[in-house]
C-alpha cells in the first residue's frame, strides 16, 4: 500500500511515467482502420476574391477520394465558426460579427485561410492532389497593422464593417479621469506596441474524425484544451450534430498555451468530411502550417497617460488601444483585449480613476485570440512601463513610487474603479521579499563590474496582479460571455477503495494528474497511487469547460474538492449505520470514520465495500454506491500577483541584451505541489522573456505575407538564453475558493515582459533612452544607441 501524499507535498509527476518512457498517446499516434489522410489547401494571399475552384485535376489524381470547398459547406447548410463572446460598445451596440466560414466562401482574408480540403488514401497523395487544385484568386491589397487598418482609405475586409472596426469598446469613468488630469501635477505619457506572438506548442495541431453509420455517431480526436466546448460549439452551432451523437476526445496534448483552446475550422471540416467519405480522416499540421493557422496572440498599439500629484500619487490612468483581431473573430477573440485587459489596468495600485478605450480591429492576418496570459500581460506591460516612465520624469525612485501607490494588505478586499474586486493580496510583502531575494542592495557593485567590461547593466521591476480562475458565470455573462464558466468533477470510489476522478479540465503539461490526485489523497486519506485522474473525453467525463485562464485548479480543483466532500458526507451516513451511532457523532480523519470519543472505527475501504455490497446498509434511506459529482461556479475571479525583478546586461557594441538574473516572488494562494508551481512559473517566465527579447510575428504590409513563418525566423527562447531563476511564493489565501488557491499558470508570463523591458531601459537610461519596444533585439537596441547620439562604450 502506498502513502497518502497530500497538499503541500512535492511528489514526482504521475504522468511523467508515460511521457518520459515514450508511452504518451497523442492524436498523431492514433490509427483507425481504413483511415484516410486529409490536407488543407490554404490561401497564399492575404486578401483576395475567390473567383472559382476547379477540382477536376485534383479529383483525378491517384488516391484522391474527395475535394471539399466552401461551396460544399454552403450546399450542406453548415454554420459559421461561432464566437464565444459578444461584446458591445459604450452605447450598447453589439460588435460587428461577420461570418467565419470553415472553408472560405467568396473571399480569403489572411495567408493561411482555408480554401479546400483534399482527402486521399495517403498524405502524399493528398498533397499531390492539393497541388493540382486550380484556384482563381483576384488579389486585393492587404492591411496587416492596426494603425493602417483604421485609416479611411484602408482595404476593407468586410463590406459591412466600416473602417475595419469590430467594436469601439470602453471601460471606466471618462469624465472622472478627465477632471483628475486637470488637477495633475505631472502627466506621464507613453506610446507602445505589444508585439504579436505565435504560441508554438511542441505538438502541432492534429485531428482524426470517424463516423459510425450503425449508431449515427461521430468521434473526433483533437489536440484540444477543451473537448466538451468543441462538442458544443461544433456539434450544436456548426455541424448540427446532436450532442449525444458526438464524442470529442482530446488525449495527451503536447502543450497548448491557449493555442488549442479554440474551436478551429479544421475540426469541423474533418468531422464533416468523415461522414461524407464514410471513412476515418486524419490531419496533422506541419510546423509551417501552424504558423499561419494557429491563432496568434497580443498585437496592440497603445497610447497611455498617467496623472500624478506632486508626491507621485497616481490620480488617474487613461489608455487608448488598437487591438488586432486578424481576419475573423476566433472563439474568444474580442474578449481578450477588452474584458481581460481593461479591468487589469488598476494593477496593485490605488489609482482612483481609470478609463480605457479599445478599438478592436480586423486585419488581413491570422485571427488573434488568447495566448498564455491573454490580455493581462498587455495590461501589465502598459501599467508597469508607465510607472517607470513617471518615476524617472518626476525623479522618484522606481520602488518608492510603487510603494506610495500600492494597495496595503489591510485594504483588501479592494474594489478597483474597473469592475474587479480583489479579495486578497499583499503587494508590499511580495516586493519586499523580491528585493531581498534579488540582492538589489548590491546591484551597484554588479553594475560597476559590468561597466568595467564595457557593458551596461540594468534592473527592472514589475509589481503586478492578474485576474484568473475563469470565471464567475453570471459576471462573465454580463460582460458578454455566451457560455458558462463553471467546472465539474466526479469522484468515483471503487468497491475496493481506490478512486477514479472524472474532471472537465484538460491536462496538457500542467501536472493535473499529480496535483488533483494529491487533493483526493489528502482529503480522503487514500494512497496517492490509488487515485487516477480521467480527462479529455466527452464519453468518459460528464462535462467541462476545459483548461485555460489558470482555471484548472481554481475552478476544477474546487469542483473536485466539493465532490470529495460529498463522498465524505455519504461515507459518514454509511459509517453511522455500520457503527450504530448517530451521523452527527461520526468523524472522518486520515482515511478513518470513527465515533467521536470512542475507538470504534471503519476504514475508508470498509465503507466503500459496504456501499457496493449493501447487505448491512440503510437501503431505505440511502442509495448504494459511492460516487459523487459536483459543479462549481466561482463567486469571483482570483487575483494572483507578485513582484518580478529582472537584471540584464547590454553589450553596446552589438546591442545584445543578456538576461543575467531573474527573481520572482509570487502570491498564488495555497500551494498544492511546490515543484509544479515552480515549473509553471519557470515556463511562464520564459514565455514572457520570449516576448520581451526574442519573439515577433512580422507581416508584410500590402501582401499580407507572414515573414516570420518558421523557427528559422521566429525566435523562440532557449535554455541558453536564460539564467537560473529564483522563484519563491509569498502567499495570502484566496478568501472565496475552497482551498484558498489562486492559480499559477499564467503569472510568469504576465509579470515578466515589463520586468525585462524596464531593466533594459534602466541599463540605457544614462543615454536618454526612455522606452524600448518588444522584442528588444540586438538590431533594435543598436539602432536606439545610434539615435541616442551619445558616446557609446569605448571601442
Amino acid at each position: 500500500m502506498g502513502n497518502v501524499i497530500g497538499i503541500g507535498a512535492a511528489p514526482k509527476r504521475k504522468e511523467d511515467q508515460r511521457f518520459l518512457t515514450g508511452r504518451g498517446n497523442y492524436v498523431s499516434d492514433i490509427k483507425r482502420p481504413g483511415m484516410t489522410a486529409g490536407v488543407f489547401v490554404r490561401s497564399p494571399h492575404g486578401h483576395a476574391v475567390l473567383r472559382g475552384i476547379d477540382k477536376s485535376a485534383a479529383l483525378a489524381s491517384p488516391g484522391v477520394i474527395a475535394v471539399l470547398t466552401g461551396d460544399d459547406v454552403a450546399d450542406d447548410g453548415l454554420g459559421s465558426l461561432p464566437c464565444g463572446w459578444g461584446i458591445s460598445d459604450a452605447k450598447g451596440v453589439p460588435m460587428k460579427e461577420p461570418p467565419f466560414p470553415m472553408l472560405a466562401q467568396d473571399k480569403v482574408r489572411f495567408v493561411g485561410d482555408m480554401v479546400a480540403f483534399v482527402v486521399a488514401e495517403t498524405p502524399e497523395q493528398a498533397n499531390a492532389g492539393a497541388e493540382l487544385l486550380k484556384i482563381d484568386y483576384e488579389v486585393l491589397p492587404s492591411v496587416v497593422g492596426v494603425l493602417e487598418a483604421v485609416r479611411p482609405d484602408a482595404p476593407q475586409l468586410f463590406d459591412d464593417v466600416p473602417n475595419n472596426i469590430c467594436c469601439d469598446w470602453e471601460l471606466g469613468d471618462k469624465a472622472a479621469v478627465e477632471s483628475a488630469f486637470k488637477k495633475a501635477a505631472h502627466v506621464a505619457k507613453l506610446s507602445l506596441v505589444n508585439n504579436r506572438l505565435i504560441g508554438n506548442p511542441m505538438e502541432p495541431r492534429a485531428a482524426i474524425a470517424e463516423y459510425e453509420p450503425g449508431t449515427d455517431r461521430f468521434t473526433l480526436w483533437t489536440t484540444s484544451q477543451f473537448p466538451h466546448v468543441v462538442r458544443f460549439l461544433m456539434g450544436a452551432l456548426v455541424l448540427n450534430i446532436p450532442q449525444h451523437k458526438l464524442r470529442v476526445v482530446a488525449p495527451d496534448v503536447g502543450g497548448g498555451f491557449g493555442v488549442k483552446q479554440f474551436h478551429y475550422g479544421e475540426e469541423a471540416v474533418i468531422t464533416w468530411a468523415a461522414k461524407r467519405v464514410r471513412r476515418p480522416v486524419k490531419w496533422v499540421a506541419s510546423r509551417s502550417e501552424g504558423y499561419v493557422s494557429d491563432r496568434h496572440g497580443r498585437d496592440h498599439v497603445t497610447e497611455a497617460e498617467l496623472a500624478l500629484d506632486e508626491t507621485g500619487k497616481f490620480l488617474a490612468f487613461r489608455v487608448n488601444t488598437l487591438a488586432n483581431m486578424g481576419g475573423y473573430l476566433s472563439t474568444f477573440g474580442p474578449n481578450i483585449p477588452t474584458n481581460l485587459y481593461g479591468p487589469l489596468l488598476g494593477g496593485v495600485y490605488t489609482t482612483p480613476a481609470i478609463y480605457c478605450n479599445v478599438k478592436v480591429v480586423f486585419t488581413n492576418t491570422v485571427p488573434v485570440d488568447a495566448y498564455r496570459g491573454a490580455g493581462r500581460p498587455e495590461a501589465t506591460f502598459v501599467l508597469e512601463r508607465i510607472v517607470d516612465v513617471a518615476a524617472s520624469e518626476m525623479g522618484i525612485d522606481r520602488v518608492e513610487i510603487r510603494r506610495r501607490n500600492m494597495i496595503p494588505k489591510e485594504a483588501y478586499p479592494y474594489q478597483t474603479p474597473v469592475l474587479v474586486q480583489y479579495d486578497s493580496g499583499d503587494p508590499v510583502g511580495c516586493l519586499d521579499g523580491a528585493l531581498v531575494a534579488a540582492d538589489v542592495k548590491n546591484f551597484g557593485v554588479r553594475k560597476a563590474a559590468s561597466a568595467s567590461k564595457g557593458k551596461f547593466r540594468g534592473l527592472g521591476y514589475s509589481t503586478y496582479v492578474e485576474a484568473c480562475g475563469l470565471a464567475p458565470s453570471r459576471f462573465a455573462g454580463r460582460l458578454g460571455a455566451r457560455g458558462g464558466l463553471y467546472e465539474s468533477a466526479t469522484v468515483r470510489v471503487h468497491p475496493t477503495g481506490q478512486v477514479t476522478v472524472m474532471i472537465g479540465t484538460h491536462n496538457h503539461g500542467q501536472g493535473h494528474e499529480t496535483t488533483f490526485a494529491q487533493i483526493v489523497s489528502d482529503k480522503l486519506g487514500v494512497a496517492f497511487e490509488n487515485v487516477d485522474i480521467v480527462f479529455g473525453d466527452t464519453d468518459r467525463v460528464q462535462f467541462g469547460m476545459g483548461t485555460y485562464g489558470s482555471r484548472s485548479l481554481v475552478v476544477g480543483g474546487a469542483a473536485l474538492s466539493k465532490a470529495t466532500d460529498k463522498v465524505i458526507v455519504k461515507g459518514k451516513k454509511i459509517a453511522a449505520h455500520l457503527l450504530e451511532a448517530s451521523e452527527a457523532d461520526i468523524q472522518f480523519e486520515a482515511g478513518k470514520f470513527s465515533v467521536a470519543g470512542t475507538d470504534r472505527i471503519k476504514t475508508f475501504e470498509e465503507i466503500a465495500g459496504a456501499a457496493y455490497v449493501p447487505h448491512n446498509y440503510p437501503l431505505e434511506v440511502l442509495e448504494p454506491g459511492l460516487e459523487e459529482q459536483a459543479y462549481y461556479d466561482p463567486v469571483n475571479f482570483t487575483y494572483p500577483g507578485g513582484c518580478h525583478i529582472a537584471e540584464v546586461e547590454v553589450d553596446p557594441e552589438t546591442g545584445t541584451v543578456t538576461l543575467v538574473n531573474y527573481t520572482a516572488v509570487d502570491d498564488v494562494g495555497t500551494v498544492i505541489n511546490p515543484m509544479i508551481v515552480e515549473g509553471q512559473l519557470h515556463g511562464g517566465i520564459v514565455q514572457g522573456v520570449g516576448q520581451a527579447l526574442f519573439e515577433n510575428a512580422v507581416y508584410d504590409e500590402g501582401s499580407g505575407q507572414l515573414l516570420s513563418g518558421s523557427l528559422m525566423d521566429y525566435c523562440m527562447p532557449r535554455a541558453d538564453h536564460l539564467p537560473m531563476m529564483k522563484v519563491a511564493t509569498h502567499s495570502t489565501l484566496c478568501t472565496h475558493t475552497p482551498m484558498g488557491v489562486k492559480g499559477c499558470g499564467e503569472v510568469g508570463t504576465i509579470g515578466s515582459p515589463a520586468a525585462v523591458i524596464n531593466a533594459v531601459v534602466d541599463a540605457l537610461s544614462h543615454l536618454g533612452v526612455t522606452h524600448v519596444d518588444m522584442p528588444a533585439t540586438p538590431n533594435r537596441i543598436w539602432r536606439l544607441l545610434q539615435n541616442a547620439s551619445l558616446p557609446v562604450a569605448a571601442e
Binding site: 509551417s288 526574442f694 515577433n696 528559422m712 525566423d713 539602432r783
Partner: protein, 265 residues
Amino acid sequence: MKPFAYHQPDQIPAAAKLLASIDDSKLVAGGMTLIPTLKQRLASPVALVDLSRLGSLKGITDDGATITIGAMTPHAVVASSKLVQTKIPGLAALASMIGDPAVRSRGTIGGSVANNDPAADYPAGVLGLGATVITSTREIAADKFFLGLFETALQPGEIITAIRFPVPLKAGYAKFKAPASRYALVGVFVAKFADGVRVAVTGAGPGVFRVPPMEAALSGNFDASAIAAIKIDNDGLTSDIHAEADYRAHLVTVMAKRAVDAALS
C-alpha cells in the same frame, strides 16, 4: 516528400556516373539541408545519390603545411579533431559553432560548401584560409569557388571530395548568431599567413566575401585596433526582419575585431 529512387554507390566514379546518367538526380550527404526541402516539397529530385558509403570522402589528414578534410566529414568530427584543434584552432572553433549537436553530427563540410548558404559558416573558413576545393574532376581555389547566393563553381555532376586548408600562423572566427536560426547574422574569419592576412565575411551579404582594407591593415599590424575604424559599405548587404544592412555592416567590424582577438588568444 515525393517518391524518389535511392542509390548508395561505394566508388566515386560510380557516384559520378549515376549523377551524370540520371536527369534531375541529386547528391545527399548529411541531408540536413536537402531533406527539409524534400519534406516541404520545394525540391523533388527523381533520384538521390547518397555519398555515405564513400569511405575515401571521410577523415582528416595531416599533410604538413596543409590539412585535408574529406567532404563527408561531419562538423562534430572537425570540431573535436585534435589535429584541427592544434593546427587551425579557428577552424575547429568554427565547426563547433554550427547549428546544434544533432546537426553537427550529420551535416558535412562538403554539403555545407556545396550548398553555399549565404549565412553558413564554412564558406568563411574556406575563403578566409584560402583553401582549395577538391572535386571528382579538378581543384578549385576558394577565391574562384563561391559565386554568390547558393551559387558555386561546381559543374553539374561534379562531386566535392575534400577541402585542403593551408595551415596559417594564426586564425580566428567570430560569429554573431542570427537570433532564431543561429546561422551567422555576421561571421568573420581572419587568418594570418607569412605573406599576409585574409578576412572573409559570411552572413552579411548574398555570399561570402573578403574585406581588402581590413586585410591590408591587419597585414601591417595584426591587432584588433588596426581595423576598429574600418567601416564597410552598407551597399549590397542584406536587410531582413532580423537586421538591416547598416547594422550588419557595423557587425562586420565588431566581429572582425573579435576574430582577431580570438586568433591571438
